[in-house]
Assembly symmetry: C2
Homo-oligomer: 153 residues x 2
């Protein structure tokens, strides 16, 4: 985990989310949660991660409000881990990461998968960044502004 960094750059709105997520394992857990996994054993089998690590990550994700513990739907003793609203907000991060992966990491002969619209089975569009007026923006066409931006519109 990244240490408590009060000296972090002014842009905490990247650093703090990263800190809340925790580490790569955590993000893979979240991805699996989007895929419908809910139980300790399911995550462990899917990720192949050591049980102590999984345990710690789940606890951290719950502590950060990304997952929540819910009782098992079948009334049995174990409980399950479900995405909260906040956790579901990470969907766009995962989509972005996956599209980047599709572009740069899918070699030929690999078990290639991609995201599709459940309803039609057709691939989804690439993410785009749009201005308020709908123009598509390239990386260089945005900047950070602070709250008291002069409303020049």
């Amino acid at each position: 985990m990244v240490k408590r960094t009060s000296h972090q750059s002014a842009d905490c709105l990247i650093a703090r989310p990263l800190d809340a997520i925790g580490d790569w394992w955590s993000l893979l857990i979240v991805r699996d949660a989007f895929d419908g996994l809910r139980r300790f054993g399911e995550f462990q089998k899917s990720l192949g991660v050591a049980k102590n690590i999984l345990s710690a990550r789940l606890r951290s994700l719950v502590a950060h409000g990304i997952l929540e513990i819910v009782p098992a739907p079948d009334g049995s003793a174990h409980n399950e881990y479900a995405l909260t609203e906040k956790g579901r907000g990470l969907f766009y991060v995962l989509v972005a990461l996956r599209q980047w992966g599709e572009t740069y990491f899918s070699g030929p002969g690999e078990p290639y998968t991609f995201m599709v619209d459940t309803r039609t089975g057709r691939p989804i569009r690439r993410l785009e960044v749009h201005a308020e007026d709908g123009r598509q923006l390239a990386p260089g066409e945005t900047r950070l502004a602070d709250f008291r931006v002069t409303e020049t519109g």
Copy 2:
């Protein structure tokens, strides 16, 4: 760094990008690179990270083709680190992360910043996931399909 995981879940297109990025510091370096930082000292000052760590992360990012070393534009001896095309592809990941951060981590009284369109100074739109036909898709409306998806269109 995440260890070499051949047992990783079938969906390597999340895990491999994460592995390539390296760790949180690396992503903060990339963010700073988008903000125009290019020199070792600039990154170090911005992030407050130990020099050995920064050095290792820069090397890793270069090795993964996310940054590249370019000679200093002023002809001096030091060289600079610039985003490659692949590195610029991480823009969407950062935007997604930042919008998530804006939603869940910006408390009142914080030095709040957000992304704006450079041309107009107006905030950018939120990311959306769209189907091929343009419909907006919520997290639950997508799934992963493998390459040999039956083209039912």
